[in-house]
């Protein structure tokens, strides 16, 4: 059976390294450290600036901002997708099934967590939870998929 939307297996190692890099930097950023270096200030295109609908004011489509968040967010998302959707060494229909199962598990758990956040968190705490929630679905998917792969390998009986 053909598996769709998969990168070749050789992408797996670079994906792991990139993911580890962005994951660690992301944690550093979330722990309160600000990456505030002059080279990070760049002119970007903002397609929805805050003054977009103010009469008589020309919207600031071009803005100079710190792109640390942009780089970390895009890097994390792309490396996580690359990691989760690179073919395994022995990619077959069973592995595809595990990947899909991990994906549906992650989606359910992620939205249950979000529902709990809606119930228990308000104001700024809720906004922080929403920010985390953007990335938890990918993290849960990767963790669950690796766990299922590990479990299927560790159940293998020894044979001559």
């Amino acid at each position: 059976m053909r598996s769709y939307y998969l990168l070749p297996h050789r992408c797996k190692l670079p994906a792991m390294l990139l993911f580890a890099f962005f994951f660690v930097l992301g944690l550093v950023q979330l722990s309160g450290h600000e990456f505030d270096y002059p080279f990070l200030y760049r002119t970007v295109i903002n397609i929805a600036p805050s003054n977009l609908f103010q009469n008589g004011i020309k919207p600031d489509f071009l803005q100079r901002v710190n792109i640390a968040n942009t780089v970390l967010g895009v890097g994390f998302i792309l490396s996580a997708l690359m990691l989760g959707f690179s073919a395994e060494k022995h990619e077959d229909e069973y592995v595809s099934g595990l990947r899909l199962s991990a994906l549906s598990w992650a989606l359910i758990v992620n939205y249950l967590l979000l529902a709990v956040a809606f119930l228990l968190l308000y104001d700024l705490s809720f906004l922080s939870a929403m920010t985390y929630n953007l990335f938890t679905v990918l993290l849960l998917f990767l963790a669950r998929f690796q766990y299922l792969l590990y479990k299927s390998r560790s159940n293998l009986p020894h044979e001559e």
Binding site: E88, D92, E93, Y94, S152, N155, L156, E160
Partner: protein, 66 residues
Amino acid sequence: MKNSIKIERAIAGITQEELAKRIGVSRQTINAMESGKYIPSTVLALKIAQVFSKSVESVFSLEERD
């Protein structure tokens, strides 16, 4: 759905690894099928039956709950 892959394998004298190679899947897949944790696609079931020179129905059969 249950299957007799393990028995057929023993009769044919081939390991999980060998069967996996012949039908182009991983050993984990063969193990998962033998322990009833994975139901293969029709394509894979046909390939397995072909290896043992048997019909699909003699290797795979439905259970009460199916």
